[in-house]
């Protein structure tokens, strides 16, 4: 079983930041990385993002599943971009420099390779930061900070609660699927597509039914302990904004500023080394 929402409890400067700070930083950072194709800034973001991993005490092993997943996707994406528009770089940069003596529609050009290099760099600028966010943000504290930045506490608690019950539901799914396999439900690749769809229903129906029972019990348990009594509630896990929080948000804001400024200076979203 794979744990998708992998908060890893550790003691680090990044863990100590509030969830709201990290969310704001994530948004600013992603905007910065998305709005530009400027190689210099993307390189900076990628290096910075990866450099934050040791700061947050998160190892490559902790995120290996997500990392593999993105890498596969990245390779696939790169190949497809090349296959479908091998001349895109030429259009973007306005010059055409054939490499290795080939020519023609699918021939490699310096512009295309540079464009795709930037494209890959964009992944490296954003993905590490997203992974870091997921690994270092405690769901309850995150819920607390969501409500601080104005989201209704019912909504933020629902988020936290969903995260709380995901492992339980995974476990149940596993048990139910084992029991139905014993009764003859075929889940392996041997079965046809319709067969597998039927098999999925044989597992999902009991899963949904037993989850419904649970929801009733949980909502009663919450009401009996006064959930929803007041317009506001306090949070055990809430954290105060401190100097590092403001500092991080400021840095991310500056990065976004730099990204917008570069677009203005370059005259487009691209940094163009091909034209003098």
């Amino acid at each position: 079983m794979i744990n998708l929402f992998n908060y890893i409890e550790k003691e680090s400067p990044i863990h100590r930041l509030t969830g709201a700070t990290k969310l704001v930083c994530l948004l600013l950072w992603s905007f910065a990385a998305m709005s530009t194709y400027d190689t210099r800034l993307l390189l900076l973001l990628a290096v910075l993002g990866i450099a934050l991993f040791p700061v947050g005490r998160i190892g490559v092993r902790d995120v290996s599943f997500m990392l593999w997943f993105t890498l596969v996707f990245l390779v696939l994406n790169t190949v497809l971009v090349y296959l479908f528009s091998p001349q895109h770089g030429t259009q973007v940069y306005g010059t055409c420099t054939y490499l290795f003596g080939f020519s023609g529609h699918f021939a490699p050009t310096a512009e295309q390779l540079f464009f795709q290099f930037n494209y890959i760099l964009k992944y490296f600028a954003t993905i590490p930061f997203v992974l870091l966010f997921v690994c270092t943000t405690n769901p309850s504290e995150f819920a607390a900070s969501l409500s601080r930045i104005g989201v209704s506490y019912r909504v933020s608690y629902a988020v936290a609660l969903a995260l709380r019950y995901i492992p339980d539901i995974q476990k149940q799914y596993h048990e139910i699927s084992q029991a139905s396999q014993a009764r003859g439900v075929e889940l392996s690749k041997k079965a046809s597509l319709t067969g597998r769809l039927k098999a999925a229903s044989a597992i999902l129906i009991p899963l949904i039914l037993s989850s419904m029972d649970r929801i009733e019990v949980i909502s009663n348990a919450m009401e009996l302990r006064c959930f929803g009594k007041n317009k506001k509630r306090t949070w055990y896990m809430a954290q105060r904004f401190r100097a590092p929080d403001y500092l991080c948000m400021l840095v991310c804001l500056l990065l976004l500023g730099a990204s917008i400024a570069l677009t203005y200076v370059n005259g487009s979203r691209f940094y163009n080394p091909f034209q003098p």
Binding site: E175, A182, I218, L224, G228, Y236
Partner: protein
Amino acid sequence: MTDVIVEFNDLGFQYRAQAKPTLYTIHLTVRRGEKVLIAGPSGCGKSTVANLINGLIPFSYKGEITGSVRIGGRETGEQSLFDISHTVGTVLQDSDAQFVGMTVAEDLAFALENDCMPQKEMKGRVREIAKILDLEEVLRHAPSELSGGQRQRVSVGGVMASDVDLFLFDEPLANLDPKTGKQAIELIDELQKRTGAAVIIIEHRLEDVLHRYVDRVVLMNEGRIVSDTAPDRLLSSALLSECGVREPLYLTALKYAGVKIREEMHPASLPELSLTEGEKEQVRRFFLENRGKGEKETRPELLTVKNLSFTYEKSHRKALRDLSVSIREGEMVAVVGTNGAGKSTFSKVICGMEKEDAGEILFRGRDFTSLSIKERAEHVGYVMQNPNQMISKVMIYDEVAMGLRLRGVPEEEVRVRTEKALEICGLYRMRNWPISALSYGQKKRVTICSILVLEPEMMILDEPTAGQDYRNYTRIMEFLRSLNQRGITIVMITHDMHLMLEYADRAIVFSGGRIIADKSCARVLTDRDVVERASLKETSLYHLAELCGAPDGTEFVQSFIDYERAHERA
């Protein structure tokens, strides 16, 4: 401040969707400092009484109330659910679902958060409660990292945090192993002594609750209060068996021996039970007369496991260590031990749901490990604890036929075999009913039937009677016994010591992934070392034997079992 916390006056209640009232003319008063047990069979209305006390009726479940319900001196209709929850703290049956927070600390703080207590004060309060309940070490742990007993303590702590006047425990013993259950009852007792609040326990396992003193037992049946009196008086009457609630086992033994239960004996508490010399003599004589009548025969081995080991891949936890055991044809065996001792893992490895690291599994002497999960199911059927986790069809007939249809059996043969299985399970008449119309016990029967249709030689059942009252328990167990008499070998994973004593030929005791005992139930439940290591509970019969000066406690228990089985079958 009033002393009366709960006051029901001529109360009746009917759920909106139901044709008949659930409660009739209930009069009930509970005062500060009292400890009251509400007992009765499933469907007697005791859960409805609980919902009326904690305010879920009328605020979450709708229906018509007649008469008056006063909580903390005011009618519930005039208060809000939140007002009531400051007077009544409810600990729900499923302590897992009660656990709302991500960690222990957050769960303890949950009610305080909702009351907008400032964080600093809240942290102090949480620390205070954690100290009382001995949870300081685990404050940052998630629910899945806790033992059953710790989880129960967190549930209690979460309610304690808001200083209530009444603690309401809804079936606190369900899902707990015997030793943890005993500790839960002790915890409730200490909690009451510490806070001076009133306590109401809703539970049908009378003997376990009476482990500690209670002031009154309110016995309910069919929506009415049948009796509301001191436990000693109730136990000396015949009301319990009339209502289908099980009396303590030591009292059953006394009755078998011909001893009449009198109030002055203090029948509610075994340590205080006082018998005359004549009565003790009666018990000893009963024992001698019924001693050693059980006959022994050895049948061929059906399942043989040799040096089996298993490790969970993800957590690297060694769940089974070098197990060797054999189960003979036609046996009815109990598998017992704490949660996490390896009982369920063992059955999953047998059924092929998990793959062993090392060891042999032989079925009728042939290698079992090379068979797929589907092929093994035709020899060994596995029935999960919660029937809702197994049911995926709308109609009973289709559910039972599913396993055959998936195996591509011709429809004509499916019909014959399904009808036969339905017949055996007593479901034939209901075959065209939707499953949603069935009670929990009937659903259980459907899931057993849907396994039985594959005609396995052996069945493994996980907690076949968890959460069932005595009547349902007896029905399910008698049904399993009848299957056993048809030649199906039955293996039951259970926490229920009564079940084990009454129905199992033998107990296999798990602890820390090993089998620490494999012998008759009477021997297991009188072996102090095994009982301690596997979190079981010594049977009260053993203490009765000591009290009466019977020469051999283990044999005394055995003769009781033999007598009861011979007696019931006759």
